[in-house]
Every structure is written in structure tokens, then in C-alpha cells.
């Protein structure tokens, strides 16, 4: 019984850690310079 409880607790903790790792953080650094310009005129010739 104790073994089963420990196994369930381990699975629960692993699940919580996995969920936190999956949901937190960000995938990179924003660009420090530059910007978007609409393609027009000469760009589309």
C-alpha cells in the first residue's frame, strides 16, 4: 500500500513539474532593432 502511495505521489509530482515546464517561459528574445515595412511599388515590380 505504501509503495502504491509513493508511486502515485511520484507520478503526480512528475506531472506537475512537466506541466509547469510546458507552460512557463518564452521562446526567445525580441528583436532589438528593425521593423516591418509594407511591400509596395518597387518591391512588387
Amino acid at each position: 500500500m505504501a509503495l502504491l502511495r509513493r508511486a502515485l505521489a511520484a507520478i503526480g509530482i512528475a506531472g506537475i513539474v512537466a506541466a509547469v515546464l510546458r507552460l512557463r517561459g518564452s521562446g526567445g528574445v525580441p528583436p532589438q532593432a528593425g521593423g516591418w515595412r509594407e511591400l509596395s511599388g518597387p518591391d512588387l515590380r
Binding site: R22, G27, G28, A33, W36, E38, L39, D43, R45
Partner: protein, 327 residues
């Protein structure tokens, strides 16, 4: 004798495609078919006397078929249209459907018809932006597509399903299966979207792009998703999808060689995905009807149309691309 187009699906994308076609003199009449007959009739009535609502999509009654039904319902209809010798424009955006439509290539060739596969926002406009960016390079090494937002409800459901299905990346000249929700990357879309975390998902863009760039080493596609999207990806959709979708964006990064230099070009677009997808599909249909598409077979837009004149015409219709400069 004029041209008749059959538009199957009168949802957010199909209605826009039909509107684009009716505005053009190349089509004498537009037949509108939708599983929801009331909606089909309402769209046809709004388009004017040249549009007629039909109860069932009879492909033999038209010269060209625009398929804007949910991806899962497209294959049989497209197969039937090809067998009847009709050109097809499909806005399919799921990997299995795109794969099965591309498999019709030999039959479409044999019958001398075009099947434009993935002629929407992404895939579709994404493929055109990749081709346009690639035209600056002597050789293309990598193409990375990121997509933000959804069109109508069917597109939103597909977005939800894509986040729980295995993705396909092209890497080192081979297909690699990728876990959905992995590979987080912060992508910057044109304003007003800005930065959004994007993840691997079951997206068909790479399938359509790879054949057009022989020798390319990496082609990937990612989807912008929130934490809630990822956490609930394996559950049914918790909220009813937005009927028209909201603002969406595309970011296409192409890396390659110019002479001995490595260069990167980033193009993007921002629009309501359903509006942009309908405009792209309508314009492809018009190009096919007016003989501006000479290829035959089943393929994506990257191999079907000249990107520059197509993008120029799209810009006149209000779907504008942008370039990221000065990084």
C-alpha cells in the same frame, strides 16, 4: 460561352471567395453549395443575380470548383471533380487532406486539370511569400513559416486539432516527425500582432513547399498558441469558435545564399485569415479560368503561380505583404 464556378462551402472563407469571383467578369455565374442550405441561399442572394444557390454540389455543372468546406470533407469531392475533368481550388489546411489531394497529381495531369492544393492563408499566402523571398537567393537553405490566428469555425477546429497531432519538419533532406507543442519559438508578426510564442503542430506548409525548393535543408511550420491552447489541446474545444475569426498574421523566414554570402529575408502579412484565404482562393480560381495558370496536376501555390504578379494583384485586393527590415 462563359465560365461557371461552383463554390462548395459558404462559410467565412467560401463566402469571401465567391464574392471575389462575382466581382470578376471572367465568371458568368457562381453556384453556391453549402451543407447549411439556408446559409448557402443567403450568401447567393447577397452576391446578386449571377449567383445561384444549389442544394447539392454537382461538379459537372461547373467549369471550376472552389472547395471551401472543412478539410475532412474535401477529398471525395475533389476526386469526383478531377474525374469529371474540372479544375479545383482547395483551401485544405490539414496534413492528411493535403497529402491525399497531392496524391491526385497523376490523375489530374492525365485529365489536363489543375488542383490548387492549400490555396488559402496558410498554406497558400505563406507559400507565395516563401517563393517571393526565395527569388532573391541563388540557393535556398531554409524556410520557416509561422502562423497566428484562425479564420472561421472550421479553421479554428483545425488549429485546435493541429496542436495535438504530430508535426512534419523537413530536415537534412528527410521528413522528421515532431511532437506537437514542442519547439517553442518567439516569432514577431507585423503590427498589431507583434510577438507570439509559436510551436510545432500538424501543419501542411512544409509538404507543399519542399517540392518547390530542391536541395533545401530545413522547412518548418509553427503555430502561435497560448498556454491555454496548449494545455487544452487534447480536450474538446472548451469554447465555441469565433464565427468570422479575428486578426491573424503570417511570418515567413527564408535563409539562403547570394553568391558567397548567407542572407535571411523575412516577409509577413497581417489580415483576417478568412478574408485573406477567400481572396487568395478566388484569385487562384480567376487565374485558372483566364489561362494564367499553365501547370497541370495537383500542387501547392508555390509551384502553380508566379509569386510577384500574384502578390501585386493581391495587394490591389487589399491583402498586403510586409518585409522585416533593419535587424
Amino acid at each position: 460561352m462563359g465560365t461557371t464556378a461552383l463554390v462548395c462551402g459558404a462559410g467565412a472563407v467560401g463566402a469571401r471567395a465567391a464574392r471575389h469571383l462575382i466581382a470578376d467578369e471572367s465568371f458568368d455565374s457562381i453556384l453556391v453549395a453549402d451543407a447549411n442550405r439556408k446559409r448557402g441561399a443567403a450568401v447567393a442572394a447577397a452576391l446578386g443575380p449571377r449567383a445561384v444557390a444549389v442544394d447539392e454540389p454537382v461538379v459537372e455543372d461547373a467549369d471550376l470548383v472552389v472547395v471551401a468546406t472543412p478539410s475532412g470533407k474535401q477529398v471525395d469531392l475533389v476526386r469526383h471533380a478531377v474525374a469529371a475533368g474540372r479544375h479545383v481550388v482547395s483551401v485544405a489546411d490539414s496534413v492528411p487532406t493535403v497529402q491525399r489531394l497531392l496524391d491526385l497529381d497523376a490523375e489530374a495531369h492525365e485529365r489536363g486539370v489543375v488542383v490548387a492544393v492549400g490555396a488559402g492563408f496558410s498554406p497558400g499566402l505563406s507559400c507565395l511569400l516563401a517563393c517571393h523571398a526565395a527569388s532573391e537567393f541563388d540557393s535556398v537553405e531554409e524556410v520557416h513559416v509561422s502562423k497566428h490566428g484562425t479564420g472561421g469555425p472550421a479553421c479554428a477546429r483545425q488549429h485546435h486539432a493541429a496542436l495535438r497531432s504530430t508535426g512534419l519538419d523537413w530536415r537534412d533532406h528527410a521528413w522528421r516527425r515532431r511532437a506537437p507543442g514542442s519547439g517553442r519559438e518567439l516569432s514577431f508578426f507585423p503590427d498589431p500582432i507583434g510577438g507570439a510564442d509559436c510551436y510545432r503542430a500538424s501543419l501542411p506548409d512544409a509538404l507543399l513547399l519542399v517540392p518547390n525548393f530542391p536541395g533545401v535543408e530545413r522547412v518548418t511550420a509553427r503555430l502561435a498558441a497560448t498556454r491555454r491552447d496548449r494545455l487544452t489541446a487534447s480536450l474538446p474545444m472548451l469554447r465555441r469558435p469565433h464565427t468570422e475569426g479575428r486578426i491573424g498574421g503570417l511570418r515567413v523566414e527564408v535563409r539562403g545564399r547570394q553568391g558567397s554570402n548567407h542572407q535571411t529575408t523575412v516577409l509577413g502579412a497581417v489580415d483576417r485569415p478568412a478574408v485573406a484565404a477567400g481572396t487568395v482562393a478566388g484569385q487562384v480560381a480567376r487565374w485558372i479560368a483566364t489561362g494564367q495558370v499553365t501547370h497541370r496536376g495537383a500542387l501547392g501555390l508555390a509551384g502553380l503561380v508566379e509569386p510577384l504578379p500574384f502578390l501585386r494583384e493581391l495587394a490591389r485586393s487589399g491583402v498586403r505583404a510586409a518585409v522585416f527590415e533593419g535587424a
